[in-house]
Symmetry: C2
Subunit: 267 residues, 2 copies
């Protein structure tokens, strides 16, 4: 089993991802796709007059401020636009894909963080009423049912809270939890950079390999969202995933290339 997470930044080659996934799937490779949709969510949110806002948390990570209206826009883009685009591309390639959010069959379950700490002008503040949270549990029953019946699952946030509320959640972390639940041989995190860069955005500074037990040394060079990716990789490898590869989703055959070791390999 491999888990492939396709990011939601500009420049992702969805056609190439779908073609490559279909080829591997037909050759007998079991796989689950997970995707994002952040840049298109920003674009649609702007167009709908509800521009995106981001919170910087103590520790430096950022997340999307998700009021109810933002959650609805998020669902429109992730579950509607991007999920169905990928399912359609896979179906065209002859793969019987099934698109699901974390709500469906409670695939991604977690706790809603209704109150979120953030930093503004150096002070820690609290934003209330947010629809965000972290995936704490991956329910594999539905996914196993689908895989055994020959369907390729295409997953997307949001997740679902224990109370049954939709919650915006980080897709990379969800993918890492998923890969861990299935003890996947590989988790591929594909985005619009060649991998983990020592000097972002200098692509020639690509780090080729990170030994899992020395990941903390590399956290200093990780910036912005890349930090979350590294954190997810560590957890996944510690949880029993064979290897994590940060690969490039702008290239032809992005999945095969990452499987072959192109990008940054964490093991």
């Amino acid at each position: 089993m491999i888990v492939v997470k396709v990011g939601g930044s500009e420049g992702i080659n969805y056609e190439a991802v779908a073609k490559d996934a279909a080829q591997l799937w037909k050759a007998g490779q079991r796989l689950i796709l997970v995707h994002g949709g952040s840049s298109e969510t920003n674009r649609i949110a702007e167009a709908l007059g509800h521009p995106p806002q981001f919170l910087t948390h103590p520790g430096g990570l950022t997340s999307r401020l998700t009021d109810r209206k933002t959650l609805e826009i998020f669902e429109m883009v992730y579950c509607g636009l991007v999920n169905k685009r990928i399912v359609e591309l896979l179906q065209r390639e002859g793969v019987n894909a099934v698109g699901l959010s974390g709500l469906d069959g409670r695939v991604f379950e977690g706790r809603r963080k209704e109150a979120v700490k953030y930093v503004e002008n150096g002070k820690i503040k609290i934003h209330r009423g947010d629809y965000t949270g972290s995936v704490e549990r991956v329910n594999t029953t539905l996914l196993t049912l689908l895989l055994e019946a020959g369907y390729l699952p295409v997953l997307t946030p949001p997740a679902i809270s224990y109370q049954g509320e939709a919650i915006n959640t980080d897709g990379d972390t969800a993918a890492a939890m998923l890969a861990t639940a299935f003890k996947a041989e590989a988790l591929l995190l594909l985005s619009n950079v060649p991998g983990l860069l020592a000097n972002f955005p200098d692509e020639s500074s690509l780090i080729h390999e990170i030994p899992a037990d020395r990941v903390s040394e590399y956290m200093g060079v990780a910036q912005g969202r890349m930090k979350k990716k590294v954190l997810g990789a560590v957890e996944a490898v510690q949880g029993g995933v064979g290897r994590v590869v940060f690969g490039d989703a702008r290239t032809p055959n992005p999945i095969s290339a990452a499987l072959a070791g192109r990008g940054t390999v964490v093991r």
Copy 2:
């Protein structure tokens, strides 16, 4: 088995639909939900600067002009906003719902009508490049798999063409095909009117029952989209569905009420 189609017009009480569905489901009633999303699609399309356009066909039926951009907006609203709203409401009621479009598992399959005839100023014209079509085949395998494992399927257009393209399709017809495929005991078509009205929009002119073999007599009184509903009802009853009920989705317990015969019953 009952199939419940919830329309996409203004005034639908989704909370009541979900509560009622959950209660029936927990009491052992097998059911599949199908939903629309037309009025919210119009609203979002306007807001995104791509206002809806409708074609009137020879014969008087109308349909949404669906270019690629409209298809994407359609998917955002139907598969993202409305589908996940209903799944979330059902999950809150403790029902493990799974939302799917017709693309997922190729549930609704049909032929793309790339060239669509329409009437303008009394002349028949042809619009090309449309992403519409009719459902010709319901693939029940995935639905049966889900139902047997205890998941409540929540279905929505678009359908998928034989070539793997997403196609906008009429939800009522898709629901009728679905009910026929499962030889459902009842197909409930819930919208924002009490049923079939002899003098639309006069709600006191509700037609309480239509014998299936005399449906053609009633076609004269059916107006606009209601025509499609009556056509779908005839096909369903002829195809082996126990009865079709046009019910009111604005009321509390809209499913139970329709099952009890409130609305227009076709049998």
